[in-house]
Symmetry: C2
Subunit: 262 residues, 2 copies
């Protein structure tokens, strides 16, 4: 099932996506059974929102694809090969939906896209085993962990490298009933393929990530976990269009603009 969160007539709603249509549902994806309503909209007539309104977002779990470790080590000057799972809190303020702009700020240095598989938590998870971890996952979406590189290196935390409004596109919707161990991720800039990778190369897979975080912290319904990007990322600039497409989910597409000074 593909479950979109969208705004229509000023209100956030969930709906089931089929083709070009979205049918509103009654009830919450996080509590009990969903019921189809008789309200159907064209996707082109609604505004896609971030797929959840989470308690917390983990904007990556550290270098989690072999071919990204080298780049990250060079950037950070730190040995990352055995860093394990290191979730980076990403501000809820960063979230935006597919179709909405990534707004660069004049204060920022080089800002990179990072296309990633994102885990959507479905049930409160505390100290769950790897074997049971997927029971706590509602589904998956595409994410772009937009990151500024200079402050990522310099700062003690990631508030301004990852926490800027619109720097966390997630969408276009949640895909449930999906095997996350063999998904093709394609990143495009202005229609051209930049990079392709497959989630089978994740150093820590989805059950390992969910289980690990839950050994120390608590995951809540709607929480989002970015699982890491692959390869070498590149800077984005106003006028670009970035897409993160994942097989079985869909295509997260965001234009890049510069913030207007007031």
């Amino acid at each position: 099932m593909k479950l979109a969160r969208f705004r229509f007539e000023g209100r956030a709603r969930y709906g089931i996506v089929e083709g070009d249509l979205v049918t509103e549902v009654r009830g919450s994806p996080f509590r009990g059974k969903l019921q189809r309503s008789n309200r159907t909209h064209r996707l082109s007539e609604v505004v896609l929102l971030p797929v959840t309104a989470p308690v917390q977002v983990f904007g990556g779990v550290g270098a989690n694809y072999p071919d990204h470790v080298a780049q990250a080590e060079e950037t950070s000057g730190r040995k990352l090969g055995e860093m394990g799972i290191q979730p980076f809190p990403k501000s809820n303020a960063s979230l935006t939906g597919s179709g909405s702009p990534i707004v660069l700020t004049p204060e920022a240095g080089e800002v990179h896209y990072e296309g990633e598989l994102v885990i959507v938590i479905g049930r409160k998870a505390r100290r769950v085993s790897k074997e049971r971890a997927l029971d706590y996952v509602l589904g998956f979406t595409c994410g772009n962990d937009v990151s500024e590189k200079e402050s990522w290196e310099k700062d003690f935390s990631h508030w301004r490298s990852k926490g800027i409004p619109t720097w966390g596109p997630v969408g276009p919707w949640i895909a449930t009933d999906l095997d996350s161990s063999n998904l093709d991720v394609t990143i495009r800039m202005n229609g051209q393929v930049e990079h392709r990778f497959n989630t089978r190369d994740l150093i820590s897979d989805v059950p390992t990530i969910v289980s690990h975080i839950s050994q120390y912290a608590t995951l809540f319904p709607g929480d989002l976990i970015f699982t890491g990007t692959s390869g070498t990322t590149r800077a984005i600039k106003p006028g670009d269009v970035v897409e993160v497409e994942i097989s079985g989910i869909g295509n997260l597409r965001n234009p890049v603009v510069m913030e207007r000074r007031r």
Copy 2:
């Protein structure tokens, strides 16, 4: 005015605190004028909640009192004297109200209290000057930035040193119309004074902090900024009661318990 957020009959409400009573208000503290209702409760009959439901929490802005810099440098092995304002994202999941327990987890090592003045943002703030910064502040509250020391040193981020549920007590309520430049902060453990300090010794004061963060990121109504602790903090253990009292605000009081394994 003292503005409490509390639960009564299952619902979160705001109210004005006078003596032992709290009178519910109509409207939002973040939009327009508040109106007193005719519903008054004894404070002893309500459950105090975290003072806001924020978009984001900054759990400290780095070492921000001269006498805390030395301890922090020793713990981190990093030179912090000139680190400037370094906000640490703290999970929204950590927030709890006055009177509710701080729940230690068996996985954690040494966990310390950190008593701090907390800024409550009232209006969306982007690129505001120091001179205008206080216009964007609704008021202040007391905060306890409960932190685990081992993972603070080891990890790349602060997800498990600062992000555990109940490790972010804020309250008992918001004090508005308060001069934040000369407030006495008293920290007590089990009724005994542990430490006293005054906000006049803040390295970066409230207008400087709000203005600085807003130069890079955006602050939203309800956002919370912990301003840093002073002196040498100590470990807490089950059975302790920690209090953070600030002149002109009130007393944030939380018992410490150990998580029960299910």
